[in-house]
């Protein structure tokens, strides 16, 4: 820690760099301590980026100004009665000039490569919740093909984002990041403070010694860097997938006894590692399931340290439920419940909204919810029952889209009107789009792309088939991930 002193290596930030990164900022109107909205900082930096060059370079040399380190916390009402504090959610506003500076530092860190490990899927380009789920599903399926039993567990971290300790963080990234950026990060995480603003009345300033910087651009990246050493601390056979603070660890074994032993070992190691970092874990809340070909499920609880962990038949992973035999029956029944509830409400909207609007609403809010992560749980090989359930809701949705409540049109007729009508075609479209996005970015393609390819059975036809499928609505893909 004491080796790094401010005032050594300049980062040489240029006007061109500022202008390039400022164009990516979101023009919001909320203000921090200085009272300047983000929109104005963006416009000024695009019009005249040289205003900020000298200030940013001197920030690298002699430290970030203290006014940038003060966060203003405001409570936002969620739901329920307004009297109790538990119904409010705090959000913090930072100075908007400092956010531009953070953006530059983040770009410098990203240029160094994938520092937070390949198991991390959160806050990254071309990665999403679906890619994380795909990787987990692929591991389980391949191990089951070898006649093995797989056990996966998810650990519950309480208030993970607020428990980051700067001194440990700097130790973990010491070797990965060059000195210039290191100094800035050290200065960025230290000597932080906050004020609370309720209807214009300010509280006293208080110091913050622990935690990621809430509301900042660098914050999420710092968190993923903080947990980057997780995979190396666990045994080699263990497979880890994580999305932000949700981590899913899975091991396999030929016998139940071997598997249980290895699971207990990894759990203990995992818990010990998290405690050294400073995270608070809740062992009694960890969820565990055994994936196997046989229908018989083991329900004897595991003894980990002083706590018991009880295995269950299903596992919730980032919004979808994995069955112990990968049949997806429980997930489809949940989807059916949700979608039928939504349809009842959307039919009511037909009074107000015209045909084109109705069509858009159905595609975004019904199909977007139904086919969330359909790449994972829906395929050409899925059972007749699941496809029948999906089809029944799907055609009901299409009928509400054209306000055809009296069932005048046949299914073939609906298929004619909507070019991409059947559920399987939707799945194909989503997979093709995901695969192409990944392949375009990386020349070789990440390991997930190969999974997708094998799932689709279309190695070379992928481009042509994708182009032939015309999406009903382009907004679908944006809301795909957020509708949970």
């Amino acid at each position: 820690m004491k080796d790094y002193k401010i005032g050594h290596t300049p980062l040489n930030i240029t006007a061109v760099e500022i202008k390039k990164l400022a164009s990516k900022l979101k023009p919001k109107l909320c203000q921090g301590e200085d009272g300047i909205p983000m929109k104005i900082v963006k416009d000024l930096s695009l019009a005249n980026p040289e205003l900020f060059v000298n200030l940013f370079n001197s920030c690298c040399m002699s430290g970030i100004p203290t006014s940038w380190k003060i966060a203003i916390v405001k409570p936002l009402h969620k739901k329920g009665p307004k009297d109790s504090i538990a119904n409010y959610r705090p959000f913090s506003n930072l100075s908007s000039i400092s956010k531009l500076f953070e953006k530059i530092i983040l770009a410098r860190i990203d240029a160094l490569g994938e520092l937070d490990g390949s198991f991390q899927h959160g806050f990254k380009k071309n990665r999403s919740t679906t890619s994380a789920m795909l990787e987990l599903q692929d591991f389980i399926a391949t191990e089951l093909d070898k006649n093995k039993i797989v056990g996966t567990y998810s650990i519950d971290l309480s208030a993970a984002f607020d428990l980051l300790r700067p001194d440990i963080f700097l130790e973990t990234i010491r070797e990965k990041i060059p000195l210039g950026i290191m100094q800035v990060l050290m200065d960025f995480t230290s000597n932080r403070s906050f004020k609370v603003d309720v209807h214009g009345i300010m509280s006293k300033q208080k110091e913050l010694s622990v935690g990621c910087v809430q509301g900042s651009i660098l914050g999420p990246r710092l968190f993923t860097l903080y947990l980057s050493q997780l995979a190396s601390k666990l045994p080699k056979e263990v497979h880890v997938v994580s999305y932000a603070d949700d981590t899913y660890v899975s091991t396999s074994g030929h016998n139940m006894i071997d598997l249980k032993n290895s699971l207990v070992e990894t759990m203990l190691q995992h818990d010990a590692y998290l405690k050294t970092i400073g995270m608070v874990t809740n062992v009694s809340k960890t969820e565990l399931t055994y994936f196997s070909r046989s229908d018989v499920q083991d329900t004897i609880p595991l003894l980990v340290g002083n706590d018991f962990v009880k295995p269950q038949k299903t596992l919730k992973v980032l919004g979808i439920t994995f069955d112990h035999d990968l049949s997806w029956n429980s997930h489809t029944s949940k989807v059916k419940q949700k979608a039928s509830m939504a349809l009842r409400k959307l039919k009511f909207l037909g009074k107000y909204v015209n045909l084109n609007g109705m069509r858009k609403i159905i595609t975004t809010h019904l199909f977007g919810m139904m086919y969330y992560a359909s790449v994972v749980w829906l395929s050409e090989l899925s059972t007749y029952k699941t496809i029948r359930i999906l089809e029944s809701i799907h055609y009901k949705g299409l009928r509400t889209a054209i306000k055809d409540y009296y069932m005048l049109l046949s299914r073939d007729r609906l298929n004619d009107i909507f070019q991409r009508a059947t559920p399987l075609k939707w799945m194909k479209y989503a997979t093709a789009k995901a695969a192409i996005n990944m392949l375009q970015q990386d020349s070789e393609g990440p390991p997930i792309a190969s999974i997708l390819r094998s799932k689709l059975y279309i190695n070379d036809r992928i481009q042509t088939e994708y182009q032939s499928m015309i999406p009903l609505d382009s907004r679908l893909d944006e809301t795909h991930s957020t509708t949970d």
């Binding site: 900020f52 200030l55 430290g63 609007g357």
Partner: protein, 399 residues
């Protein structure tokens, strides 16, 4: 380049909104005048995404609007009601500080009527008197002037124009008549109707052959010295009263005077102070916040509210029954306008990317009962059953 287009849709805009959208979007038109629209201001669903619609004043020209105009939401053109087009001609006038765009439609009249030229004279006089050559002018429209039908003298437009002293008028005001021949697609009507464009500025004119009803679409694009000012003003309105270039220049000047020291605490405070000073000097931050509070700024609503305020003040001084009745009438108008603004805001919520806000609005709507006035159009697009191409042939639906 800013473009103004004139199009005769021939009998009702309701079915032809798609083509109007096509003209506006593909050619990036600032104002699109549409003639023979046959609608009324109550038809709030007549809209193009990204544009707002303006109807002719019903209290002057009658209940039916034969002319409407679509204006880009970001465009600097504002509707001016100070200039009244003669009541025989139906007109819409839009203007900026430097340019005035006028659309004129003359309803079809019997052949013996000879009041054409006199009304046209009146129009030109009113325009010139008010403009006083300060502004560039672009007049276009469907004048429905009957010429060349019976008498051989009127076969040529120019001779007809000479008869009615139009060319003189045009020459006096140094206007250029760009379209010299009638623009029609049907040969029988070729000599009976006349579309004209009178223009005061340098520019390029085109006849768009693609969009035909019984007339063709005319477009005028101009690039004058005033264009730069127009763009700046449009940007300012977009930001609700602030331009980044002027503020950045001011900040640069101030910072050069007070050179940076190297102490970042001091420098950061200095920069923020300079920026806030510049913002307060040119355009106060208050206006920017206002713009966010009301995402939909409705000009008509503000106008009616101002009128009502004025009358209320008068009424408090000396209350009369006349004023009371007027205020009551205005109250109704305000309610109507507020309803339309509500519709716009609901549309925004339904269109938005946030699913939570969408489901909240659905729940809101579910609670209401008598909402016949609310007709929501997502993306302001109107569609009928027949707008689905494949459904046209479907026998079950046509029943």
């Amino acid at each position: 380049m800013s473009r103004i287009a004139y199009w005769n849709c021939c009998g009702g805009i309701a079915n032809k909104l798609n083509t109007a959208e096509h003209i506006a979007k593909i050619h990036n038109v600032e104002i699109l005048f549409v003639f023979e629209a046959d609608c009324s201001p109550q038809h709030s669903w007549i809209r193009i995404p990204g544009y707002r619609t303006e109807f002719t004043d019903t209290h002057i020209y009658g209940s039916k609007c034969r002319q409407i105009a679509f204006i880009k939401l970001t465009s600097p053109f504002l509707r001016s009601r100070s200039i009244t087009v003669p009541s025989d001609l139906e007109g819409l006038v839009f203007e900026t500080a430097k340019i005035r765009a006028v659309g004129v439609y003359r309803p079809f009249k019997p052949i013996n009527d000879n009041t054409n030229a006199s009304h046209f004279n009146k129009l030109i006089q009113t325009l010139t008197e008010t403009a006083k050559t300060r502004k560039d002018i672009c007049i276009g429209g469907d004048f429905n002037i009957n010429f060349g039908k019976f008498s051989p003298e009127k076969e040529n437009i120019e001779t007809w124009a000479l008869d009615h002293n139009i060319i003189q008028l045009v020459n006096e005001h140094t206007w250029e008549r760009i379209i010299r021949n009638p623009v029609t697609s049907i040969p029988e009507l070729k000599k009976s109707q006349l579309d004209l464009l009178f223009v005061n500025t340098d520019g390029k004119h085109t006849v768009l052959d693609k969009y035909t009803s019984d007339h063709k679409c005319l477009m005028f694009e101009f690039k004058s010295k005033t264009e730069q000012i127009i763009r700046q003003k449009a940007k300012r309105r977009n930001y609700a009263g602030y331009s980044p270039q002027t503020i950045s220049n001011k900040v640069k000047m101030d910072i050069q005077n007070q050179s940076l020291t190297g102490d970042t605490d001091f420098d950061a405070d200095l920069l923020t102070n300079v920026i806030t000073d510049a913002l307060d000097l040119y355009h106060p931050l208050r206006t920017i916040r206002m713009a966010r509070a009301t995402d939909v700024i409705d000009q008509d609503l503000e106008r009616v509210k101002k009128q009502r305020k004025r009358l209320m003040k008068k009424y408090h001084k000396d209350p009369t029954e006349m004023l009371l009745s007027k205020i009551k009438h205005l109250n109704k108008l305000v309610k109507k306008q507020i309803n339309s603004v509500k519709v716009q805001q609901l549309n925004l919520k339904l269109e938005g990317k946030n699913p939570r806000s969408f489901w909240n609005t659905v729940a809101e709507l579910e609670g209401k009962r008598n909402e016949e006035n609310l007709i929501l159009n997502i993306n302001n697009k109107t569609t009928t059953i027949f707008s689905f191409p494949r459904l046209n042939n479907c026998p079950e639906i046509t029943k």
